[in-house]
């Protein structure tokens, strides 16, 4: 019994649950502008500062898009950014972190790069690996909150 229980615990710790993911994505039933507003309120609750929001949709309608809501939200923690860039300037293209918010059929898709996908570039830096994991956990939790938003 003890062996079985220990085996179960080991399995629960090592078994991954999803695809070999490089992106973290969720769908929210709520409309994009509302999701954006909530997202901007939620990020500070996790200790992040929203650095800025970039529109990537100017003139999308001209290119036959049904919806032109396409935003990228940049966010980060100053000290983390400073510490990492001092050690790894090659991380600068990936900072601050970002989440993309796209309208789709009255619903919203949110997507972010899985920071753990950068882990392979820094096999020697255990601290950075841990940082990637922390970011992933935060992004996943934040996106999960957005996923739970209901239609307005």
């Amino acid at each position: 019994m003890r062996l079985f229980a220990s085996l179960c615990l080991m399995l629960s710790l090592v078994l991954p649950v999803g695809a070999d993911q490089t992106l973290v994505m969720v769908r929210s039933e709520a409309p994009a502008q509302y999701v954006m507003d909530v997202l901007k309120e939620t990020l500070p609750e996790y200790g992040y500062t929203v650095a800025h929001t970039q529109r990537c949709d100017g003139g999308m309608a001209e290119f036959h898009y049904k919806s032109d809501f396409y935003r990228v939200v940049f966010f980060g923690k100053l000290e983390e950014v400073r510490t990492i860039l001092a050690r790894h300037p090659e991380m600068s293209p990936y900072l601050p972190l970002k989440i993309t918010v796209v309208a789709e059929n009255g619903e919203t898709i949110l997507a972010s790069m899985d920071p753990r996908s950068l882990g392979g570039f820094f096999p020697e830096d255990a601290e950075l690996q841990l940082q990637f994991l922390r970011w992933y956990n935060d992004i996943e939790a934040i996106l999960d909150e957005m996923r739970r938003l209901k239609k307005k």
């Binding site: 078994l15 991954p16 993309t100």
Partner: protein, 342 residues
């Protein structure tokens, strides 16, 4: 010790419980296929479409994905979890799944080739890659097809679709798409030849980025010029490469007040809108790596010019077409960086 065991068992409950297909679908599939299977970035899973797909095909598709066609492989899901997702999706139809024999169909590939070229190439392409950018149906933009033609040469498709299922689709056509029935044009024997020919189609070789930058997160070059001159050089080189440049930002801008921001780290953002929209059509998730930018940083007495390794970034999307664009972009960005630091 007894309590410890119970505690361990409590931790393991998710492993021991029967998988919840709805929860698994919502966590793994709904962002692309929509919560009710209406489609989006991914293929719609409407009752009409599902009526032609066997459970085995769907399960194998989940397992193997479609390399280079957005759909990732979910090899980490257990068989029970995959089956739970299939059962959940199937429950939308209210009808039993079609069942196809797993046995290979015997045909002549040489006879199938001209038939394929006559009847199938227009939509599926000469090499079977499928035509038109991206996959899926709705997203945020208009689509030419309700469902993009399948990439018949894709290894995920080849592993998932049985000969009998392909034969059925060729004979019946594809509901909810422009694929017609070929029953009146092709005999059973002809269809067998076509199916056998399809099995000879090979996936294209995907181009990779430059060898010297593989395995690196970013392109990084040291500038022989001072910080300000380097920034101007990058801008000029980008303009010369037909990019529109946005107002530059400090890397820390927005994270700290304007008096404390490090002004020796700037991000030069650039775009070619026509290309951008073309790329968004190929993959709407592209925003996760936008905007294009080249950073200039003064650090430890050096001036560094840095860009993300775009050839690598493009591979994150499991989208072959985007990966090829990433390789092209790599060349352009490296040229700009080299020009700025010459």
């Amino acid at each position: 010790m007894k309590h410890f065991n119970w505690l361990l068992l409590l931790f393991c409950m998710p492993l021991l419980a029967a998988p919840d297909g709805k929860a698994l679908y919502e966590n793994n599939c709904s962002s692309c296929h929509h919560s009710q299977g209406k489609g989006g970035i991914g293929l719609p899973l409407t009752p009409e479409i599902l009526s032609q797909l066997s459970d085995a095909y769907i399960a194998k598709t989940i397992r193997h994905g479609r390399p280079g066609r957005i759909m990732p492989s979910f090899e980490q899901l257990s068989l029970a979890q995959v089956n739970a997702i299939v059962r959940y999706v199937r429950s939308w139809t209210g009808k039993p799944a079609p069942v196809f024999q797993a046995a290979k169909i015997k045909g002549d590939a040489a006879k199938g080739k001209p038939l394929y070229e006559k009847h199938c190439v227009r939509c599926h392409g000469k090499d079977g890659s499928g035509e038109g950018p991206g996959t899926g149906v709705t997203m945020s933009r208009e689509r030419t097809f309700m469902v993009m033609p399948a990439a018949l040469n894709n290894s995920g498709f080849q592993k998932s679709a049985s000969d009998a299922m392909i034969r059925d689709i060729v004979a019946s056509g594809r509901k909810s798409s422009d694929m017609p029935s070929f029953k009146s044009k092709l005999s059973d024997e002809d269809i067998a030849h076509v199916v056998t020919y399809l099995r000879t189609l090979k996936p294209p070789v995907i181009k990779q980025g430059m060898e010297e930058w593989r395995g690196k997160p970013a392109y990084i070059m040291e500038s022989p010029y001072d910080f300000e001159t380097t920034v101007e050089n990058v801008k000029q080189a980008l303009t010369g490469a037909n990019f529109r440049i946005f107002p530059q930002r400090y890397l820390e801008q927005g994270l700290v007040d304007e008096f404390s921001v490090n002004t020796r780290q700037v991000s030069i953002r650039f775009c070619n809108f026509k290309e951008l929209y073309h790329l968004l059509n190929i993959d709407p998730r592209l925003g996760t790596v936008l905007p294009c930018r080249i950073n200039v940083m003064a650090q430890n007495g050096k001036v560094l010019v840095i860009s993300a390794n775009v050839a690598h970034l493009a591979t994150l999307f499991n989208n072959q077409e985007l990966s090829e664009v990433g390789v092209l972009m790599e060349e352009i960005i490296l040229t700009v960086m080299e020009e700025a630091t010459l």
